[in-house]
């Protein structure tokens, strides 16, 4: 499955990238799975997306939890809690 990844704010800076096109293995089915998959890259990926981190996730522009299923071509984003206003 192909998905588009987006990263924002401190997560983007920590990873040194704002976006990426990714081809996922079949076992990666949810937004939480994507986070786990990326963590396995180690280094800054393991650190920025670590389990205990306050991280927000979005799928196709909607804030979502780890259990949300992903689909072909969807856009998954990771970012810190928001601080606008």
């Amino acid at each position: 499955m192909h998905i588009q990844l987006r990263f924002f704010a401190s997560v983007r800076e920590a990873l040194g990238t704002a976006e990426e096109n990714l081809v996922l293995p079949a076992h990666v089915r949810t937004v939480g799975d994507v986070r786990d998959f990326l963590r396995q890259r180690g280094g800054v990926w393991a650190e920025a997306l670590a389990e205990g981190r306050a991280l927000r996730m979005a799928c196709n522009h909607q804030m979502t939890g780890a259990g949300t299923a992903i689909s072909e071509g969807c856009e998954v984003a990771f970012f810190p809690p928001v601080t606008g206003g």
Binding site: H61, T83, G85
Partner: protein, 168 residues
């Protein structure tokens, strides 16, 4: 219900005048303007940079205003949020709400701001004498949102932190 994300400043008077134009049923206009402070968390702030998630931000703000309109009888609502580099004293955000009576406008304006602070994808980065730092989300902002009760029509199944996730 206009929503605007922009780098340029806004004219409060002109925006409110536009919102009220040809709306004689309006009896109340409530406006909130958020501005850049020169101090935060004990450090002086030289500049502030606002980042957002293009596309998602507009959808989130539309959903927020939609929630407000479902809860209160409003004539109109306007949200303008600036992005990019800002200086102390500059305006960051405008929320303007019109209604027949003041109660609806007061409540809806506060609700939109509380909701925006925790659900709209904007992030602030401050430049201080100790260097640049991202502004942390505040527990008080989550508490402010909680006072409005369940948000049935949030854009997405789990806008609140996942169970077991530490609060920022």
């Amino acid at each position: 219900m206009p929503i605007r994300i922009q780098t340029e400043d806004f004219d409060l008077g002109a925006e409110v005048a536009r919102l009220r134009a040809s709306q004689p049923q309006v009896g109340a206009v409530v406006v909130f303007v958020g501005t850049v402070r020169d101090m935060n968390e004990g450090a002086s702030v030289a500049t502030m940079e606002l980042e957002h998630y293009p596309g998602m931000t507009e959808k989130a703000l539309q959903a927020i205003v939609g929630q407000a309109r479902a809860r209160w009888e409003l004539v109109d609502a306007l949200v303008i949020h600036r992005v990019g580099l800002l200086q102390p004293l500059e305006q960051i955000v405008l929320v303007a709400v019109t209604s027949k009576h003041r109660g609806e406008a007061f409540a809806a304006c506060e609700f939109i701001m509380d909701y925006l602070k925790t659900q709209a994808p904007f992030w602030k980065k401050e430049q201080t004498p100790q260097g640049a730092r991202w502004v942390d989300a505040r527990v008080a902002d989550d508490e402010a949102l909680a006072k409005w009760g369940p948000l049935a029509a949030l854009p997405g199944p789990a806008a609140a932190p996942a169970p077991g996730e530490p609060q920022p």
